[in-house]
Amino acid sequence: MGATVITARGLRMRYGRAEVLRGVDLEVRAGEVFALLGPNGAGKTTTIEILEGFRRRSAGEARVLGTDPGKGGDAWRARIGVVLQNWRDHPRWGVRRLLAHVAEFYDRPRDPDELLDALGLTAQAGQAVGRLSGGQRRRLDVALGIVGRPELLFLDEPTAGFDPEARDGFHALVERLAREEGMTIMLTTHDLAEAERLADRIAILVAGSVAVCGTPSGLASVVRARSEVRWVEGGAVRSERPDDASRLAYELHRRFAGPVPGLEIRRPSLEESYLDLVRRAGPDGPGAAAFAADGPRAEREAA
């Protein structure tokens, strides 16, 4: 992994009195696939739009490819590819014609026909853009995003609204771009499984700040909610989520001086842990501040 491509420090965004971002810290390195994971309303799109240079931040520092994204000129733009969620533009243009048109803006574009072939759109080359299916449209958006050979590609919720098959095909495409082209990719998603599959590193964004950041496997151990210990005592089921489940089990065994009736220790799945994290750190949750404070430590541990 090479140099840093994106740095964000204390990114804040305020709309009127609502604070959407409350100090986002991020670092994305060259060649990695980085996922910004979080529930709807966590500030993912706002963060990515600030980094794309489409939105002015209220406070904080940001560098993308060595430039402040709020001040990036055409030379900077040429090094960045952007794929948004809601594009329905140029519906009357032919697929190939639009791709060739966008390619013209770049000094060293990819060949439009090869790109259409690589994305499985050759059969649609002459079709009007407005008649493409959802999945085809998104593949064309990716083609338009990478036709200028960007070093960095932003994908905002790239598989929202896809059926499982289209989603799988899209994941394979992103993996191929990262592996074969060495492109740095930053994507947002609210789907943990998608982030786990695609990303080298994941940052979980909750209520406007990064709760944790790390590799998928590292994240699993950090995020993991406390295990639940259940047992039967005095005719009733008791349950606790102690700091150390093993210690509690040991103490129970000592107390019962033998086998503990109905003893169960449940480790929550990563999905459950993620949901737990999102719930606890929700906009009004008391845990938000604590989790934000945990961020840097968690990142160190995960790394």
Binding site: E49, F54, D74, Q85, D89, H90, R92, F105
Partner: protein
Amino acid sequence: MNRKALGIGLRRGWTEHVQFLRDRREMAGGLLATVGMFVVLARWQGGTDVPGTDASRSVLMAAGFIAFSVSSVALMGLPMAVTADREEGALLRLRTVPGGMPAYLVGRAVTVLAQIATYVALMLAAGLAFTPLTLPAAAGDWLTLLWVLALGTLSVVPLGAALGTLLPGPRNAASILSLPLMGLMVVSGVMFPVTELPEPVRWVAQAFPLYWQGLGLRSVFLPDSMLAAEIGGSWRPLETAAVLGAWAVAGLLVAPWLLRRAARRESGTRLAERQERRAAQGAF
């Protein structure tokens, strides 16, 4: 602006113009409807002279409808195109591309000018075919025709672009703009002389470019006997140039600023908001 963006913008504009010409709905709904309305009106009640003159009513309508074509493309077609570019994301797409904004502006300028040229040519052809309209013989009249068309275009195109940045969406643009435009058409001397209207209405008409462009075109196509039915009994070329010029300057001052602001404010979130709103409107 660099030459590369200019070249891309010219090709972009031409591509979109060809799409417009091939789109049957746009052709039938806009172009042919306007020309058709003119032909029907000219044949229905254009056979007489304007009272007090020996100027043909149908030629008066031909001049008026040519002026109206310019206003209708610039103040209706252009705002709808700009709002559609915002709503669908074409503006945002070109923001993601190096040199995209100048190319976008050049492209839109090409489409609007090509559309105006198409409308004016068709309206002129219909006038020649269905009314006693003749092309000017004197060089001076040709010169007037050219500057009135050019300055008239310049007086409404920036204004239309500005409207396109302010209105929420193409459908709203159509419903908000069509009624005022039709009203302006009725009071601006497109179908009958403004002197047949009450004084206050005449003042309203004289505040907008459409009346003045029509006046300039009547000075080209109609005999001087028509002056009996014109305000002040004069073609008033200086006033025409002054009013059209003032609108052009005002538009050119405001439109670039509004366009830059509109482009700067585009983002994926706004795109999503607008499309959700449109979907909600569609549901009712």
